[in-house]
Amino acid sequence: MLNKNFYLILIISLVFAISFWIGFNVNLLPAEASINAPIYDELFKILFIIGLIIFIGMTIAVIYSLFKFRKRNDQIGDGIALEGNLSLEIVWTIIPSIIVLLIGLYSYNIYDRMGGMKELNHNHEMMSSNTEKIWAGISQTSDNEIAINNLSIEVSAMQFAFLFNYPKGNFISGELHVPVDQKVSMKMESKDVIHAFWVPEFRIKQDIIPGQPTILNFTPTKVGKYPIICAELCGPYHGGMRASIIVEEESDYNEWFNKNKKPEVNL
């Protein structure tokens, strides 16, 4: 004879097994094309598995109760007069607290690895960014590791387009070209309303705000063409406000850069 506990343990292990299987085998995310993406996907996988365990567990509990404890036709009267169970209630307060705290600490770690906790700084030779207040963003470069070969780009957003200014080449492009495996540092500002810069394959997003520059640093890892999407409602053509980011080999990038480069004009 198998007792009740055996079935309980069996069901719990099945829920865990199914959740882990789905978590590791079902991919809901787009391609990974930046340093941030695999870090993000690691967090996603953990949250997905924990979420599945809780969701499947609760759903089974509700459906099982409805089936098992349904009122039969010949039954009268009430169920058991159970008003609470202190130890059970303590357990399901403490366990979720621990899970939530661990998730919070883990996501802090993820955020730190993405560069979120680093001091915001824009590596730009031609202006002194120290005096300027940067409000927000994601920075992968800290003060002392600002590399000389960092690519600095200034982004301006307006209804309904992005413009990318390459200060080193003194030109403006409507398409964002970046070399693969190199840090890119963007300073973004809006000319009218709030916009947002989002590249799903990079797992990064930052609002572009009028009157307050924001920073976004990233390192692309895969050659290809990806969409840049405006994610903040900015007017009637918001859905059409898109651009492309083209990640290319360094030689291709240099060719493109030199073709567009304009001589410095000294006034």
């Binding site: 349904r70 169920g79 007069a81 996501s107 955020y111 997003k205 930052q206 059409g240």
Partner: protein
Amino acid sequence: MTISIDPQKTNNESLQPKGWLRFFSFSLDHKVIGIQYLVCGFLFYLIGGSLASAIRIELASPMSDFMPRDVYNQVLTLHGTIMIFLWIVPVVNGAFGNYLIPFYVGARDMAFPRLNAVAFWLIPPSGLMLVASYFVEGAAQAGWTAYPPLSITTPQSGQIIWILSVLLLGGSSIFGGINFIATIIKLRRPGLKLMQLPMYCWAMLGTSLLVVLSTPVLAGTLILLSFDIIANTGFFNPVLGGNVVVYQHLFWFYSHPAVYIMVLPAFGLVSEILPVHARKPLFGYTTMVFSIMGIVVLGLVVWAHHMFTSGTPPWMRLFFTIATAFIAVPTGIKFFNWVATLWGGKISINSAMLFSCGFIINFVFGGITGVALAQVPFDIHVHDTYFVVAHFHYIVYGGTVFIIFSSIYHWFPKVTGKMLNEKLGILHFIITFIGFNLCFAPQHWLGLNGMPRRVAEYDPQFQFVNQISSLGALLMAISTIPFLINVFLSVRNGKDSGDNPWNALTPEWLTSSPPPVENWEGEAPLVEEPYGYGKKILNENKNI
């Protein structure tokens, strides 16, 4: 604590119209006002639902081809505003609160009956004004969040009418909140202790505290925004040195608690419904009370999680991650308690029970995506995408609206003395549950893969999944048909329910159905154990 409004009440009674006309009068009867809130809210739900259908028709194809782009933005703004301020908030607070709270505390009416009527009668004109603003110069088109500078630069008249309308609705909400707090604290029948109140009273006490603390902030913010629009001031206008991020802080200081204003009353309602149909006491009454108050306190300090990709410094992002994620703890306690309430019961599987269980399943799903969204690094990718749209519809539709329907099935016999048809009710549940999940579950995938929210056009690779979602929306629209047929048929020809068809123990059932104007013929009963199911003495009295 005496009930001092008796003489006043009888005096008014002679002046009030009788029959159906009383629902169109400035009635002071809390039961009439409750029904006024419910029916008015439901009419706006039909309008908001039609707007949602228009959105889903537009999104069935990747091009912007069903309506002009600026009209699309007006539609999505009105859809959000109507569903929040004219359907969910007035119904879960105003409708059920007004109908039930006086019964639960053993009073014959609310503490301030005239304020109560004023609070209701602010709603129809401001709602109609909001809808009619479309015909002036186009309705507001900056989304229900009305972020400046977009809200400053879009056509002014629509935005100003929107602000005026939301201010009036906020005022109505504050009047209601004050009234509920006063009624629950001061009008309790002698001998009734706070810890003996049905759970919905606690939920409404918590909700009303949130309303009274946070709604004035929204009002102030919107007044400043209207100055920016009409008088060219520069509070939020960056051209004049204003700060757009400050608006977002002020706005979300109200609008995040607004989520709890929409779900806490639903938590209260489901706590009334489950014990009755499961024939078991509510599990963990005390922890339920503390978790409601925990949600109230935490709910006030999590607002910036709506701004993780906006202008927030890193330390702030971290604080709001932890605070937000911790809301899952008191919320989780409530869900475990409800499942434990079902456990070992004698459950009648009827429409009210099915909608409540649908609520538990949908809300757990929405809660899980909510904890994920609270994590800054997770949110940075999916913020302002269809993932968020899916998440909050799981909370407010899969959660609160399911409970509104569950409550209608549960309290319909109380209000009318007739039963709703169970077959139509179960059909309504099945279509709603399938339609809802078909509509919103695929939207999580859309958001993760690159579809932002509030767009009229999108990448053609998302067309198929959007069409599945639109099919779900069609089912949701169809699901209102059996419901409406059911209500109209049952009001006229429904089976007589008797006074207490569910054999419930909460005080509203211990009088006739429908109840007399004074709520009880004699003195209000003292209900010390509103969830005393399964206890010997009570069983004998009920003669089942």
